[in-house]
C-alpha cells in the first residue's frame, strides 16, 4: 500500500533535552493513524515537524513519495492543534474564508467548500456571528471545518473531541471516517484509549521521545495478551481442578482462567468436555489499549518530564 508519510530516524533536540529521539514509522494512505503517548512524550514536537513548523535536527520526512517541502506540502495538510483557537472578534464566515485562503485556496473555491461544510454540519445560520458568541462545542465544530476545508491529503487532529458533547463528537467521528474513505489520511493524537480502539487502524506509542510501540490495534493486543479466557458454563462449575489452567476469578457460572505454559485453549475446552460440563461461551480476553499503555508508560520518568516544557 502507498505511504502518505514516512518518518526516518527523526530527531529534535531542545538545548540539552531530546524531545524526539530517533523515531521512524510510516502511515498508509487512507488510514486512520493513532499517535499516542503521555503528556510531554514528544507528540507535539513530532507533529510540528510533520506540519513544517519545526525543522528536524536529523532524519528525513517523506511526504507522498517525495521529500517533505515545508512551504508547499503544508497546503496539503490540515492541522488542528491541541492548543487551538480562533480570532474572537472575527465573523465566522470571514474567518473560515481567511483560513482557507491561507491554505492557498482561491476565494471562489473556498466559498464553495465553506458553504458545503456549513450545510453539512448545520452551521449556515452562524455566518455573521462572531466566535466570541459561540459555545465551546460550536467553536470546536468550526475549528474542525476550517481544518478540513481545503481537502487535505493528511489531516492531523490533536484531541479533536475535547469539549464536544456525545452527539457532536459522533458527528465529527463520522466525518473523520468519511474523510478517510474519500482518501484522506488522518493522524489522531489523544490520551483517550477507548476512542483509539474504536477509530484507529494503526497506532504508534511514543514515550520520552522514543517510539515504544508500533502496529495495528489487533496485532498489539495479540502481542500483549496474557492467555486469559472467560468461560461461561450452563451450571455452576463442579470440577475445576486441572493442570491446564488456573482460575483467576469466579462469578456464579462464569470463570476467568489463565492457561498454564505449554497448553492451548483447546486443552481448556477439552477439560470441560471431558468432565461433561456444558459450555455456553468461551472467549479470549484481550488486554485493552489503556492497560497496555499504562503498563508500558508507568515506571518511566514520563510524569516528571511532563512538567518540563517540551514545546520549547
Amino acid at each position: 500500500m502507498d505511504k502518505i508519510l514516512e518518518l526516518n530516524n527523526l530527531q529534535k533536540f531542545f538545548s540539552s533535552q531530546k524531545a524526539v529521539d530517533d523515531i521512524s514509522f510510516s502511515i498508509d494512505k487512507g488510514s486512520i493513524f493513532g499517535l499516542l503517548g503521555p503528556n510531554g512524550a514528544g507528540k507535539t514536537t513530532l507533529i510540528r515537524m510533520i506540519t513544517g513548523i519545526f525543522y528536524p535536527d536529523n532524519g528525513s520526512i517523506i511526504f507522498d513519495g517525495k521529500k517533505f517541502d515545508p512551504i508547499n506540502d503544508v497546503l496539503k495538510i490540515g492541522y488542528m492543534p491541541e492548543e487551538r483557537g480562533l480570532y474572537k472578534k472575527m465573523k465566522i464566515g470571514e474567518q473560515a474564508l481567511y483560513l482557507a485562503q491561507l491554505k492557498g485556496m482561491s476565494k471562489k473555491d473556498a466559498m464553495e467548500r465553506i458553504i458545503f461544510w456549513f450545510k453539512k454540519l448545520e452551521m449556515e445560520s452562524w455566518w455573521n456571528k462572531k466566535v466570541e458568541d459561540l459555545s465551546k462545542g460550536m467553536s470546536q465544530k468550526l475549528q474542525f471545518v476550517t481544518t478540513v476545508l481545503h481537502e487535505p491529503k493528511l489531516i492531523i487532529l490533536d484531541e479533536p473531541f475535547s469539549g464536544l458533547d456525545p452527539i457532536n463528537a459522533n458527528l465529527i467521528k463520522d466525518e473523520i471516517y468519511g474523510l478517510a474513505q474519500r482518501g484522506s489520511t488522518v493522524i489522531f493524537s489523544t490520551h483517550r484509549m477507548e476512542q483509539v480502539e474504536e477509530i484507529c487502524d494503526h497506532i504508534v506509542l511514543v514515550n520520552l521521545g522514543k517510539k515504544i510501540l508500533d502496529g495495528t490495534v489487533q496485532d498489539i493486543k495479540q502481542q500483549f495478551k496474557k492467555n486469559k479466557f472467560s468461560i461461561t458454563l450452563q451450571n455452576e462449575p463442579t470440577n475445576t481442578l486441572s493442570n491446564v489452567f488456573t482460575i483467576d476469578a469466579q462469578n456464579n457460572n462464569s470463570l476467568t482462567v489463565s492457561i498454564n505454559n505449554g497448553y492451548k485453549s483447546n486443552d481448556v475446552l477439552k477439560h470441560f468436555i471431558d468432565t461433561n460440563q456444558a459450555i455456553e461461551s468461551f472467549n479470549e480476553i484481550l488486554p485493552g489499549l489503556n492497560e497496555i499503555f499504562i503498563s508500558l508508560v508507568e515506571g518511566t520518568k514520563a510524569k516528571t518530564r511532563a512538567f518540563e516544557a517540551v514545546t520549547v
Binding site: 513548523i53 503544508v74 492548543e83 480562533l86 520549547v312
Partner: protein
C-alpha cells in the same frame, strides 16, 4: 509573499472596519476642530452696531471719535446729557453704552479712569476694540500736547531697518524661517515619536491576542511565523498610513472650508489692534501685515517636498524597525500582559532617548549629539526630522542624510531578522516565564 498580503489585508480590514477607527480618525479631529471653531466664533463674534454715547464735557476727544466709526462700534458725541439721562437712553435701547467725562477730567498726567457704562457686560473683542479706539485718540492728543509731534512723525522714528541673517551659501536665514524650522522639526519629530508608540504597541497587542487566543499554531501550520509577523506589521502600518492620509485630507479640506464658514474671521482678527498702547491702529495693522508676510515667506522657504518625503521615509523606517521588536516582545508574553512591561523597557528607552536628543537637535541641528542621534538607527527617525526641518544642507548635509537613511534600512533589516527569531519560538511557547537568557538562546538557535 502572497500570504503576507492575505494576512496584511485581514489585519488592515479588521481594524479599519471597526467603528472606533472611524471615530478616532474622522470623528475626533472634527470634534476637536468643531469645539475650537465654536470657541473662536463666539470670541470673535461682535455685537452688531454697538453704539456708545460720548458725553465729553472736558472735550478731550474733540469730537474725533465719530471718525472711527466702523459699523460695529459707533460713537455718538452728545452734549448736555447727564449720566442719569444717558442711563434712561440705554433703557430705551437707543444706545448700548455711554462714556461720561466730567469737566474736571485732566488728561495730562492724570490717572483718572474713563468709565464705560453699559447695561450688560461687554464681550471681550468689543471691549478690546473700544479700548483701542479710545486710547488712540487720547495718545495722539497727549503726544501733540507734551511732545509736539504727530503720530506720523513718531511712526517714522519707530521704523527700524531690517536685519537679515544669511548663510555663506547665500540662503537667507530669517528668524521667521528659523522659528518655523523649529516648529516643523519639533512637530514632525514628536509625531514620529507618537507613531512609534501607538502603532508599535498596536502590533504588540495583536501578537499577544493571537498567542493568548491560541490561534497562532493554527496559522503557523499554514504560513511561516515570519510571514505572519510581517503580514501583521504591514497591515497595521497601512492602517497608520491611511489614518494620516485622512487627517491630511481633513486638514486641507478644513483650510478651504474655514473661510467659507467664517468669511470675515480673519479680517476681523487682523483688524484688531493687538497692542493698543504702542501706536495707532493703522500702524499696528501694518506691523502685523509685515509679520504675516514674514511668516508666509518663512513657510515658503521651507522645502516642504523634502520634509514630507523624509517624514514618510522615517515614519516607515522607524515603524518597521520598532514594530518588529514590539512583535517579538508580544510573542514572549503568556497570559498576563503585565509580563510585557519589563521586556518593553529596552525598546521604549531608545525611543524616549531619541525624543530627548530631538529637543536639543531642533535648536542646534549641527551639534555632535544631534549628528549622532540622527545617524544611529534607533533614534534617527525622531532626531533626523528635527535636523531636516532646518533644510538641506543647512541643517544636515546630504552625505549625513544618506548615511542615516542607509543605517535605518540596515537597522530595520537587522531588527526584523532578530525579532523573527524570537517571534518564531515565542509565539508557540506557553506556560514558561521568559527572561533575557531564554530569549538569547532563541536567537542563537539554528532553526
Amino acid at each position: 509573499m502572497n500570504k503576507i498580503l492575505i494576512i496584511a489585508r485581514r489585519e488592515f480590514l479588521s481594524r479599519v472596519q471597526k467603528k472606533t477607527f472611524l471615530l478616532t480618525t474622522i470623528g475626533l479631529p472634527i470634534l476637536i476642530f468643531g469645539i475650537y471653531a465654536l470657541i473662536i466664533y463666539f470670541a470673535v463674534k461682535t455685537t452688531d452696531n454697538f453704539t456708545i454715547a460720548i458725553a465729553d464735557e472736558a472735550n478731550i476727544f474733540e469730537g474725533k471719535l465719530a471718525k472711527k466709526n466702523d459699523g460695529e462700534i459707533n460713537f455718538i458725541h452728545v452734549q448736555n446729557e447727564t449720566p442719569e439721562t444717558l442711563k434712561k437712553q440705554i433703557e430705551a435701547k437707543k444706545i448700548n453704552a455711554f462714556v461720561f467725562i466730567p469737566k474736571t477730567f485732566d488728561i495730562t498726567g492724570s490717572t483718572d479712569s474713563i468709565q464705560v457704562i453699559s447695561d450688560k457686560s461687554v464681550g471681550l473683542i468689543t471691549r478690546e476694540k473700544i479700548i483701542g479706539k479710545l486710547n488712540n485718540v487720547i495718545e495722539e492728543k497727549k503726544m501733540l500736547g507734551s511732545l509736539h509731534i504727530t503720530k506720523t512723525q513718531l511712526d517714522s522714528l519707530q521704523k527700524t531697518n531690517e536685519i537679515v541673517f544669511t548663510t555663506t551659501k547665500g540662503v537667507e536665514d530669517t528668524s521667521k524661517k528659523a522659528g518655523i524650522s523649529y516648529g516643523v522639526g519639533f512637530v514632525s519629530g514628536f509625531l514620529i515619536y507618537i507613531i512609534l508608540f501607538i502603532y508599535g504597541t498596536m502590533v504588540m497587542r495583536g501578537v499577544m491576542e493571537e498567542k493568548t487566543n491560541r490561534i497562532a499554531e493554527v496559522i503557523v501550520s499554514s504560513v511561516k511565523p515570519f510571514q505572519l509577523m510581517m503580514g501583521k506589521i504591514f497591515g497595521i502600518g497601512s492602517v497608520g498610513l491611511v489614518q494620516f492620509l485622512i487627517w491630511i485630507i481633513l486638514i486641507i479640506g478644513l483650510q478651504f472650508l474655514l473661510p467659507i464658514i467664517f468669511p470675515d474671521m480673519l479680517t476681523q482678527m487682523q483688524a484688531q489692534p493687538m497692542q493698543p498702547g504702542i501706536g495707532a491702529a493703522a500702524s499696528t495693522m501694518s506691523q502685523e501685515n509685515t509679520a504675516m508676510v514674514g511668516i508666509m515667506n518663512g513657510i515658503g522657504q521651507v522645502n516642504w517636498l523634502l520634509i514630507v518625503g523624509c517624514f514618510l521615509f522615517y515614519f516607515l523606517g522607524g515603524y518597521f524597525l520598532y514594530s518588529s521588536l514590539f512583535a517579538a516582545v508580544g510573542s514572549t508574553v503568556n497570559e498576563d500582559p503585565q509580563d510585557a512591561q519589563s521586556l518593553m523597557l529596552p525598546i521604549t528607552m531608545p525611543i524616549i532617548f531619541g525624543m530627548v536628543i530631538m529637543m536639543k537637535a531642533v535648536n542646534d541641528p549641527n551639534s555632535s549629539l544631534a549628528i549622532f542621534g540622527s545617524i544611529f538607527p534607533l533614534t534617527s527617525p525622531i532626531v533626523m526630522m528635527a535636523r531636516i526641518a532646518h533644510g538641506v544642507p543647512e541643517g544636515v548635509s546630504i552625505l549625513q542624510l544618506l548615511i542615516s537613511m542607509a543605517c535605518l534600512i540596515v537597522g530595520f533589516v537587522a531588527t526584523t531578522w532578530l525579532a523573527g527569531k524570537i517571534y518564531r519560538t515565542g509565539i508557540l511557547m506557553y506556560g514558561k516565564k521568559v527572561n533575557w537568557k531564554t530569549i538569547g538562546s532563541w536567537i542563537l538557535r539554528k532553526n
